[in-house]
């Protein structure tokens, strides 16, 4: 017959390594068949239950130390439980003469003043508090802990941004700063590729592959999985992009995320355009606008992102004229697929963008007769076709709409297609050019862009159509892809970054860090040759919530 006995110690926090040693010690005792020693978090309880080590009557909180022993007899089980303190003490006596381990972040900072980074892996509900303290001490934060509330994440990241500090996380698994891996990171050579990663394993896969291909990493900055959601607005990713853009050692940037919120993606892609460096983007599950636009290349897999980055000697194109940032684009298409392809390409750059033929529902232009913000209209849509000829034959509708758009003071660019060929209007340029000239007489700043589809054998004479348009000041392209690239550059927000820059010197200094939480992260820093101090962290007021709440109130008074 087997006996299961347990012991719950409220508010006793131990590092998992200690608990594992204790568990091994218990297993070595006579008559003990199995033992589990864990902090009683739901996950750990499940683990015990899976091993038949969690009798249903056991109640314990996540902060409690739970010791369960399965033994051959009552006596063996009691004996084992009775040895717990002795086993815990045995470890202590062997560590009496080790270096002092601070208990608070402020003491750790005094011990290692050159530390610019604080790694935090304490239980989630305490993590924000520790992170706040780190920011107050002007340290960058690598926040491995999960279960940090969204409000806390936003507040922490805003506070950090104001001080030019990074909060990587919460739930950030990987970063490589100046050659030293934080959290879970692969050992990769140093090099010229910078990574901004909202996905921990994604960053690992890309950095490892870059290494395999012979490339190297300057810095890989993690952001945490929620950074690219609307609520957070990619605060960390923007800071990281900006830092890598300014970092001389970084020649290429890779940006990786699980599907971002569309508005966030748009802003981030614009920021990536503004870096002036080649940027490889892989937003898993997000439709890329093109393979390559200006300084951006869109990858279709993690490994391909690495490959592009390593072979990134592509030529950079940049808009020569001043960008038209504060105006809107109106695209007036006769060809439905051309409209659709253009929308697909531009949705990554222009936000908000609407269409009567949207790709996703929120892009739907409710009233096709009135554009708003950036708009792509398919004039060949059934809605417009009642009692009318197709716009490839009859330019009347498009001319009227062109005038309507030009009357809108917010419009800065009008895009249209000209589709030549059999059956089409015989001189579309000839009808459109006078209207364009008329518009430009009163509003010279409105730019016209056309994509002309046709061949030199077509009845309309491709060359003459293009020349007529060009003579009227229209920028002409032969493919939607080229037009999209051009437009995205013209609208590219070379907006100045409004936040305090991350101090690059801090990224370039030999990494020194303070570790709060998982001891293995400290061990890994040391084994990589970084300077580090481990904080012997415990929940505030030893888990006494009344006292902890009181102390928190007092903090607001100091």
């Amino acid at each position: 017959m087997t006996v299961v006995k347990w012991n719950v110690r409220a508010g006793a926090y131990y590092d998992s390594v200690v608990l594992m040693q204790l568990q091994r010690g218990l297993l070595g005792l006579p008559g003990v068949l199995d033992a589990g020693v864990v902090m009683a978090t739901p996950a750990n309880r499940d683990l015990l239950a899976a091993n038949n080590l969690l009798p249903e009557v056991v109640t314990a909180n996540p902060d409690d130390l739970l010791i369960v022993v399965k033994a051959e007899s009552d006596a063996s089980a009691d004996d084992a439980i009775g040895k717990v303190d002795e086993l815990l003490a045995r470890r202590k006596s062997s560590t009496v003469s080790q270096d002092f381990r601070p208990r608070s972040l402020s003491a750790a900072v005094k011990q290692l003043p050159e530390a610019n980074w604080v790694l935090i892996s304490v239980p989630g509900r305490y993590a924000a508090g520790v992170a706040r303290e780190a920011l107050e001490l002007n340290k960058h934060v690598f926040l491995y802990s999960d279960n940090v509330s969204l409000e806390d994440e936003i507040a922490l990241k805003k506070a950090a941004r104001d001080k030019g500090l990074l909060v990587m996380g919460p739930d950030c698994g990987t970063a490589i700063i100046n050659g030293i891996g934080l959290g879970f990171a692969n050992r990769v050579r140093r090099g010229s590729i910078g990574v901004v990663g909202a996905s921990g394993t994604g960053t690992q896969a890309v950095t490892a592959h870059i290494h395999e291909l012979g490339g190297g990493i300057s810095h890989a900055i993690g952001t945490g999985g929620r950074d690219l959601k609307s609520d957070v607005g990619a605060i960390t990713a923007h800071q990281a992009l900006d830092a890598l853009a300014r970092d001389d050692e970084t020649k290429v940037i890779v940006l990786i995320s699980k599907p971002p919120s569309p508005d966030v993606a748009t802003n981030l892609i614009s920021a990536a355009q503004g870096t002036g460096k080649p940027v490889v983007i892989y937003f898993i599950g997000y439709p890329p606008p093109a393979r390559k636009i200006g300084n951006l290349q869109f990858a279709i897999s993690l490994s391909e992102a690495a490959e592009i980055a390593v072979n990134s000697n592509w030529e950079l194109v940049s808009g020569q004229e001043l960008p038209i940032t504060n105006y809107y684009l109106r695209g007036l298409f006769s060809g439905g697929t051309l409209a659709y392809e253009t929308l697909l390409g531009l949705q990554s750059f222009l936000s908000p963008i609407y269409s009567n033929a949207p790709i996703t529902n929120y892009q739907l232009l409710e009233d096709p007769l009135h554009s708003k913000a950036h708009t792509i209209i398919d004039l060949g849509d059934e809605f417009f076709m009642v009692g009318r000829l197709h716009p490839m034959i009859d330019n009347d509708l498009r001319i009227r709409r062109m005038k309507q758009e030009a009357a809108d003071p917010e419009v800065g660019m009008i895009l249209f297609d000209v589709v030549l060929g059999e059956g089409s209007h015989l001189d579309p340029a000839g009808e459109l050019v006078p209207v364009i000239k008329e518009i430009r007489d009163s509003r010279l700043e409105i730019e016209f862009v056309a994509m002309v589809i046709g061949t030199d054998d077509d009845p309309q004479n491709l060359q003459s159509q293009v020349s007529q348009l060009q003579d009227a000041g229209v920028t002409v392209f032969r493919t939607a892809a080229e037009a999209v690239e051009y437009i995205s550059l013209r609208f590219s927000a070379s907006k100045k970054n409004e936040f305090t820059h991350v101090n690059l010197d801090q990224l370039k200094q030999p990494l020194a860090a303070i570790n709060v939480g998982l001891e293995s992260f400290y061990d890994s820093l040391i084994s990589q040759g970084a300077q580090a101090v481990h904080v012997e962290w415990k929940p505030p007021a030893s888990g006494n919530e009344k006292m902890a709440a009181l102390l928190a109130r007092m903090k607001s008074k100091s």
């Binding site: 009496v96 002092f100 608070s104 003491a107 007021a541 006292m547 009181l550 102390l551």
Partner: protein, 414 residues
């Protein structure tokens, strides 16, 4: 109210206090509220019934010394009839090691804080062996007390009267550079004291034989300076008391039964107490942990002021108390930085690159981190009169800091 600002004020007052040993005088002449039949004792206030053996013994001894009782039996029955009063030394600006019993006719050191003007007092140190402060009251003990009062005390009084006083802060700073931590080890400080006082005694004392006795007594006793050091610490911590909103601990004291603390921003007589722990340490041969009395004495005023156990890093000679190696001593001091508000401007430690000692225990940090102050201490035998049985380390119960925090929250409506 800003807590950090209040604490800055309190800790600065503590550090900038300038304790000068000015005089030796008779207790009833100098200690406020001192009177015949009043017996001051170490630690928080306590009634007779709850007093431990050493404290009861010391009170009986002091009554015999004062001549108010002729025997132990008479003394005990007087106490039980309520004919004598007890009070905490701390309520009178005084401190005393171990039992700390101080009575009206005893000679006491007078320390004046030249910066803020407050005064503090401490009795004279009796040396080792059978002594009143450990509850002994045999004829031999009383005889020595009388000699101390009539010969030693007078010699010290005359000597100090012929001087401008002794700058205790300077003496303590220097002793910390000579291997003392100022609580359990006062060897260097006592010799410095002897160096300063000897010429003054030679100048004022006529009787050479008596002078030799006096100098021998001071020189033989490596704890001679402990009492003036404690009085100096008391002058410093009293200067830090009463700062509105401050969470700095201004008193830690034990009466052999209870451990008590007071806090700067809380009441003058507002003690937070819990049963004192039994110190853990090394024992003189023939004694064991079982002989130890619960923690006793006002000497934890040294830690309150930032020396003693807090300055372990500078006292490698006594590292065996804290685990055995100089690194352990270093770690002991580093741990105390966790719970203190400042680093001393005047007490520095060569082994830590002359970093200031951890100064000003912050209630908030103690409760937040669950780290209680380390106190180096002598250990008294639990029975009256046996004396010191060892020395070691003790910490106050965490609960009294939590109590104090709750009282703070109540007072300041947090």
């Amino acid at each position: 109210m800003n807590i950090d600002e209040a604490n800055t004020t309190a800790v600065n007052r503590m550090m900038e206090a300038r304790p000068i040993l000015k005089a030796v005088a008779t207790a009833r002449d100098v200690i406020p509220g001192m009177k015949v039949n009043l017996f001051l004792h170490a630690g928080p206030p306590i009634e007779w019934a709850r007093m431990s053996g050493p404290l009861k013994g010391a009170i009986i001894g002091a009554m015999l010394f004062e001549g108010v009782a002729a025997s132990e039996a008479e003394a005990t029955s007087m106490v039980e009839r309520g004919e004598v009063e007890f009070d905490s030394c701390h309520h009178h600006g005084a401190v005393g090691p171990m039992a700390g019993v101080t009575s009206a006719s005893m000679k006491v050191y007078v320390v004046e804080n030249a910066e803020h003007g407050n005064k503090s007092f401490s009795n004279l140190n009796e040396g080792y062996g059978k002594v009143l402060r450990y509850g002994a009251y045999s004829d031999e003990v009383l005889k020595k007390l009388h000699w101390m009062n009539d010969v030693l005390g007078v010699a010290l009084a005359d000597a100090l009267a012929a001087s401008n006083g002794i700058d205790m802060r300077a003496l303590m700073s220097e002793a910390l550079h000579m291997g003392d931590e100022g609580h359990n080890r006062n060897k260097a400080g006592s010799l410095l004291y002897l160096r300063l006082i000897a010429p003054l005694i030679a100048k004022t004392m006529k009787d050479n034989a008596a002078m030799a006795e006096v100098l021998q007594f001071i020189g033989d006793n490596a704890l001679s300076v402990l009492n003036p050091v404690m009085a100096a610490c008391k002058a410093m911590t009293d200067a830090a008391h009463g700062v509105e909103g401050s969470t700095i601990v201004t008193t830690m004291a034990r009466n052999g039964t209870d451990f008590g603390i007071r806090v700067s921003g809380l009441g003058e007589r507002q003690w937070f107490t819990a049963p004192a722990e039994i110190p853990v340490g090394l024992f003189f041969s023939g004694f064991t942990q079982d002989d130890a009395n619960p923690d006793i004495g006002d000497s934890a005023i040294t830690e309150t002021a930032g020396i003693g156990g807090f300055a372990m890093a500078t006292a490698p000679a006594i590292v065996t108390f804290v685990g055995g190696t100089p690194k352990d001593a270093m770690n002991a001091t580093l741990e105390m930085y966790e719970i203190t508000f400042a680093e001393s401007k005047f007490f520095t430690m060569p082994s830590l690159d002359f970093r200031g000692t951890p100064t000003g225990i912050d209630l908030r940090k103690v409760v937040e981190l669950g780290i209680t102050p380390r106190i180096n201490t002598g250990i008294a035998h639990k029975n009256a009169g046996v004396g010191q049985v060892g020395a070691g380390l003790v910490r106050p119960p965490l609960g009294i800091f939590e109590q104090a925090l709750l009282a703070y929250a109540e007072k300041y409506r947090l």
